[in-house]
């Protein structure tokens, strides 16, 4: 069976949901005739027509606002931000209108906002960001960050079917690098469930998105030294799989929190708090964070290389923690 790339998995997921449910539609910049900046919606215009694959003006706030309006009328819109960086332009609609609607007046806003995020593609400060934490801090939203083709498909389908607003961060670096064989039947990946990508006994590396691969690469390296990493892929940040995190920490007793997002206010901080509040007496060493530094994402390759957390960082910190 053919291997499916991460980007194709997203496309398949949307396509299948649109075939199945006519309420589902896509709106965004260049999603129609061009098929999306990353070709996620390629071929859809021909199949579903211009009123289900809607090219819009460059108006992120209106794209999300319109998605909200349509969702209130029973539709299942998928709003595409061409780059996750531009989601800032729609911040108000997302955090004030969409996130609070159900709470205020009982009207759910079942929208999906797709946001191609992440660095490693030399995109510079405005095409490389990981803005997930603005939204993780907003009650009423859900935030997912798939790392595999299977999850990319399973989570986009789950997001489309979810009754609440879901922000779907798809990692650009993984689009065509990651491929796997996917089952042919209809499946979803439940929002809020983590996956263990590698079982280990010595240190838990808890991460998400492209950093899953960084952790796995480090685990391979450390295996030679007899250090056995457990790699957990959170998959969802809001809600996140608290139970899985605590279980892993209770098993290994040492934890590294890894993300591509910057440090202060990053998800690692929240995880560290939860772990120290709920599993303090299971810790056999300090909770360690590996994150990008608190800077914008730089453009030039040596700078970006420096900025992004690397497998060697995980190896170094894991060694320190193992010896601790």
């Amino acid at each position: 069976m053919a291997l499916t790339t991460y980007v194709e998995a997203i496309r398949q997921g949307i396509w299948e949901e649109m075939e199945k449910d006519e309420r589902v539609f896509v709106l965004g910049e260049d999603v129609g005739i061009y098929g999306g900046a990353f070709k996620v919606t390629a071929g859809m215009l021909e199949r579903f027509g211009e009123w289900r694959i809607i090219d819009t003006p460059i108006s992120e706030s209106a794209i999300v606002g319109a998605a909200i309006g349509a969702a209130l009328m029973g539709m299942r819109p998928i709003a595409e931000m061409q780059f996750a960086d531009f989601i800032a332009c729609a911040f108000d609609q997302i955090t004030n209108f969409a996130a609070k609607s159900r709470y205020r007046w009982g009207a759910g806003v079942p929208i999906v906002i797709r946001a191609p995020s992440g660095g490693g593609v030399h995109g510079g400060p405005f095409h490389s960001q990981n803005p997930e934490m603005y939204f993780v801090h907003t009650p009423g939203l859900k935030v997912v960050c798939p790392s595999t083709a299977y999850d990319a498909k399973g989570l986009i389908k789950a997001a489309i079917r979810d009754p609440d607003p879901v922000i779907y961060f798809e990692h650009k670096y993984l689009y065509r690098r990651i491929k796997e064989e996917l089952p042919s039947d209809d499946f979803i990946v439940p929002i809020g469930k983590a996956a263990i990508r590698r079982h280990g006994t010595d240190i838990s590396v808890i991460t998400y998105g492209a950093m899953v691969y960084t952790a796995l690469e480090a685990a391979k390296e450390l295996e030679k030294e007899g250090i056995d990493l457990e790699v957990m892929d959170l998959r969802s940040l809001l809600p996140f799989d608290r139970e899985a995190v605590l279980d892993s920490v209770k098993k290994t007793n040492k934890v590294i929190l890894l993300h591509e997002d910057t440090r202060i206010g990053g998800f690692a901080g929240e995880l560290a708090s939860v772990i120290s509040e709920e599993a303090f007496e299971y810790l056999d060493g300090p909770i360690r964070r590996i994150t990008a530094p608190d800077t914008p994402v730089p453009y030039s390759p040596p700078l970006e290389e420096f900025f992004l957390p690397k497998a060697s960082d995980v190896v170094r910190v894991a060694r320190e923690l193992y010896a601790y």
Partner: protein, 415 residues
């Protein structure tokens, strides 16, 4: 300059090992002679150890938390760095990543500074009733930290500590209580927090019980009129202050004791099996209260000091004891001990002899009391001195004569 080896000092004659609790310098640091280099904890004393030489700390051979025998080389001090000009090359490399500025988080260490562990290790220890102190120096983690592996293997080998004492890992394993039971029973009995003894505390405990078992303790009490020494103190105070010495009443008592010990050498003796050993020197230990216990620095050759010398020696020792700056020599070779619970208002005490000595004098508080002098009631500053002596070698009559000698000296003190 050749390499200077820094050793674990002997902090008292009965001491054979010490725990290095903290490095105050790290490898590569420059250090001056007498600058504090590390801290140790032994059965007798917690102390800051000064560097024996100036130079660069070339090598650190003993980790924090590790216990080693005395005279073990713990560090090497090498030649000073070359003169400036080549210093540039020694500048630290720039940090490669933001993470590299991280240091392992320091956790509060189980109440005893020498045992480093982790929340997990403390929980396991609590559940298995293991005193972490039993693993002191045996940790394999960074800085001798007790890791999960350490404590689990310790428990696996049968190591566990009951409330009354240590069971070494080699001994047969006593049944370990499951955590739930342990928690429940402590809840029922109202136990509060369980805190392992520090090395110092354990040492004091051992010494006290040992002394009680060894000597036939008898205590005698004498009331002494302090009017004369207080007058003498007032009179001498300004002169002493000019000499930079604060004059308390203690030196008077130490001097009187030293003088009496000359006349009653049996009180300045010790017992070696069936043999009484009369000590040549009169070295009087003064018990000093410090954080976490007490320590007894010794005024050497007390019989040869005048009041100023005595006061200076006592003040110096007290000061250094509180600042953890005592040297091993300072706590060695005592032949008689004076303790002063009176400073906190105690009337008198029945002290335990500091082995292998045979007597210890306790000073109560000085207080104005109504006393009858020539059938008249007078107000005098009185103190109750007590002497605990080892009846194996000292008879009651001798002890009382000794104390009467001190009493007479103090009451007739000529300023």
């Amino acid at each position: 300059m050749a390499e200077i080896k820094v050793i674990m000092p002997q902090m008292g004659e009965s001491i054979f090992e010490g725990t290095l609790t903290k490095w105050l310098k790290k490898k590569g640091d420059r250090i001056k002679r007498d600058e504090p280099l590390f801290e140790i904890s032994t059965d007798k004393v917690d102390s800051e150890i000064p560097s024996p030489a100036s130079g660069v700390l070339q090598d650190v051979l003993v980790n924090e938390g590790q216990t080693v025998q005395i005279n073990t080389v713990v560090a090497v001090i090498g030649d000073d760095l070359p003169a400036s000009g080549t210093l540039e090359g020694a500048a630290p490399a720039p940090q490669s990543r933001a993470e590299s500025t991280e240091k392992p988080v320091k956790t509060r260490e189980d109440r005893s500074p020498e045992v480093r562990s982790s929340p997990l290790v403390r929980r396991i220890a609590k559940e298995h009733e293991v005193a972490l102190a039993a693993l002191a120096g045996k940790g394999t983690g960074i800085s001798g930290r007790i890791t999960k592996r350490d404590i689990l293997s310790y428990i696996e080998q049968g190591g566990s500590v009951t409330k009354t004492g240590l069971t070494p890992p080699a001994a047969p394993a006593p049944p370990t209580k499951p955590a739930a039971t342990a928690l429940q029973s402590s809840a029922l009995t109202g136990d509060g927090e369980r805190v392992p003894m520090t090395a110092m505390r354990k040492s004091i405990a051992e010494h006290m019980v040992h002394s009680r078992r060894t000597s036939a303790h008898v205590t005698t009490f004498f009331e002494v009129d302090c009017s004369r020494i207080l007058q003498a103190r007032e009179k001498s105070k300004p002169d002493f202050e000019r000499a930079g010495v604060k004059l308390t009443v203690t030196p008077f008592f130490v001097q009187a004791a030293a003088s009496a010990l000359k006349r009653f050498p049996i009180v300045n003796s010790s017992l070696d099996g069936d043999t009484i050993v009369y000590k040549l020197a009169i070295n009087i230990g003064i018990a000093v209260n410090i954080e976490g216990g007490l320590i007894v620095p010794v005024v050497k050759s007390a019989g040869e000091k005048n009041l100023l010398g005595m006061a200076r020696a006592i003040n110096d020792l007290g000061e250094r004891a509180r600042n953890k700056k005592l040297t091993p020599d300072d706590v060695k070779d005592g032949t008689f001990t004076i303790t002063n619970p009176g400073q906190y208002g105690g009337l008198t005490g029945t002290p335990i002899i500091n082995q292998p000595q045979v007597a210890i004098m306790s000073m109560g508080g000085i207080k104005k009391r109504a006393v009858v002098i020539d059938d008249a009631i007078a107000i005098r500053s009185m103190i109750i001195l007590s002497l605990s002596f080892d009846h194996r070698v000292i008879d009651g009559a001798t002890a009382d004569q000794f104390m009467a000698d001190i009493q007479k000296q103090l009451e007739s003190w000529q300023a």
